[in-house]
């Protein structure tokens, strides 16, 4: 996937959930110029989005490019560290996904109702060993693309 600006803009409506009115979208390819993000050196999520209002905060870091959660979280974590080091406001982290793979299901627990905090399993495969997955002490939300329409209603 070549991240040409026109491709990134075309893809954005499928990647950015309508959880509030979108005030601004800053695509990953713009981060280098805007924030000094070293794109070839640090893994990057896809969008830094400001909503005018959501129930959880206005500034969201969104990762939507990879097909599986485990790998998406790695991109989100690296971007979160960078944004924190530059003291750029991020209220929440969000992963947009089509489906949970078999391996992801072994490691992560997600609610059927999306836009809920993600949980991960520790050491043993049972529910007692789940704990909230956090990046920089904040919950990570997960939403399936198929639920975007439902959010608009």
């Amino acid at each position: 996937m070549v991240e040409r600006p026109e491709d990134a803009h075309r893809r954005a409506p499928d990647d950015i959930p309508p959880i509030g009115n979108i005030k601004s979208v800053c695509h990953a390819y713009e981060w280098e110029k805007k924030f000094g993000y070293p794109l070839g050196k640090i893994r990057a999520a896809d969008y830094y989005v400001e909503y005018s209002h959501t129930a959880f905060g206005s500034h969201w870091l969104i990762e939507a490019s990879r097909s599986h959660l485990h790998s998406q979280l790695k991109q989100l974590c690296a971007s979160a560290e960078f944004f924190a080091s530059k003291k750029i406001q991020v209220d929440n982290y969000l992963v947009v996904l089509d489906e949970l793979s078999r391996r992801d299901k072994q490691k992560y627990r997600t609610s059927e109702i999306t836009l809920k905090p993600l949980k991960q399993i520790q050491e043993k495969l049972d529910n007692e060993n789940t704990r909230e997955y956090k990046i920089r002490n904040k919950a990570v939300f997960l939403i399936y693309r198929r639920d975007f329409e439902r959010l608009k209603k």
Binding site: Y29, H70, S71, K74
Partner: protein
């Protein structure tokens, strides 16, 4: 589409760390940026100097890390960021003892999105991977690059594979037969005949027969698939060629072997019908 490496279960943390440092020493284009030790409630940055003792110091710093810790090596591969993760045993069972991922650099000039892209574009030479895995065979269980996240389950989705046990080559063939038989009634009949056999025993018999093995490798070559002896290595550029290769193995090797074998259902009916009321 990342590289998953499974090391033998009896390996120590020292073995694992040595394997990882050896990987970075062998593949010099993977340049380490930072190393982190991750425990459930703690993240520590591991320091290392970049002078002559670079890898020695790094390894010494990590040898006594708890097995429950994950160790992350951020690296740069050419113009792309990447991550090698030495997993704890729980994650290791799911994702592999070691995972190597290459990520998009999200710029207009991006050419590589995944580890598999780097192999396809010959930026990582599969022959060099083969040699590296062969050298580390005593520690290695298997390594593969999957086409999709579920690749581990379906041999048709694994385009690069190295296994330390040769018989896995034919075990994969039996798995493919099972998968293809779900949609193909002709193959389903063959599968019904094959499924009653012990997979390990049958695969071992096929692998040990030199003519059959060489014939299978020749079929691979005809389908642009690289299959090699030693341990077992398999490489295909695209999934269609890999599927064609497995289909030809089914047709040329499995079908003739099981041609005269009766279906177990037919045999049961025959015996059943002879039983007097």
């Amino acid at each position: 589409m990342s590289l998953h490496i499974y090391l033998i279960k009896s390996g120590t943390r020292k073995n694992e760390v040595d394997f990882v440092t050896s990987f970075f020493q062998n593949f010099k284009e993977f340049k380490i940026q930072t190393v982190k030790k991750i425990l459930p409630d703690d993240v520590q940055l591991i320091s290392f100097d970049e002078k002559n003792t670079y890898f020695e110091n790094l390894a010494n710093n990590l040898y006594d890390s708890e097995k429950s810790a994950k160790i992350e090596f951020d690296f740069v591969f050419r113009e792309n960021p990447g991550l090698l993760t030495l997993n704890n045993p729980f994650d290791g069972n799911i994702f592999g003892t070691i995972e190597v991922e290459i990520f998009s650099n999200k710029t207009e000039n991006n050419k590589v999105n995944t580890f598999f892209d780097a192999i396809c574009q010959n930026l990582i030479k599969k022959e060099e991977l083969d040699v590296f895995f062969a050298i580390h065979k005593p520690l290695l269980s298997r390594a593969y690059v999957d086409l999709i996240e579920e690749g581990e389950e379906n041999p048709l989705d694994c385009l690069y594979e190295y296994d330390s046990k040769g018989i896995q080559f034919f075990i994969k063939l039996l798995k493919v037969l099972e998968i293809l038989a779900e949609e193909n009634t002709e193959l389903n009949e063959l599968y019904e005949k094959v499924r009653g056999n012990d997979k390990n025993y049958l695969s071992s018999k096929l692998w040990k027969d030199e003519r059959i093995r060489n014939y299978a490798f020749a079929l691979a070559e005809r389908n642009n698939v690289v299959a090699l002896e030693g341990s077992f290595k398999l490489y295909a550029d695209n999934p269609e060629e890999l599927k064609a290769f497995y289909e030809s193995m089914i047709k040329q090797i499995l079908e003739p072997i099981f041609d005269d074998v009766p279906l177990i259902d037919d045999k049961i009916k025959k015996v059943s019908s002879k039983i007097k009321n």
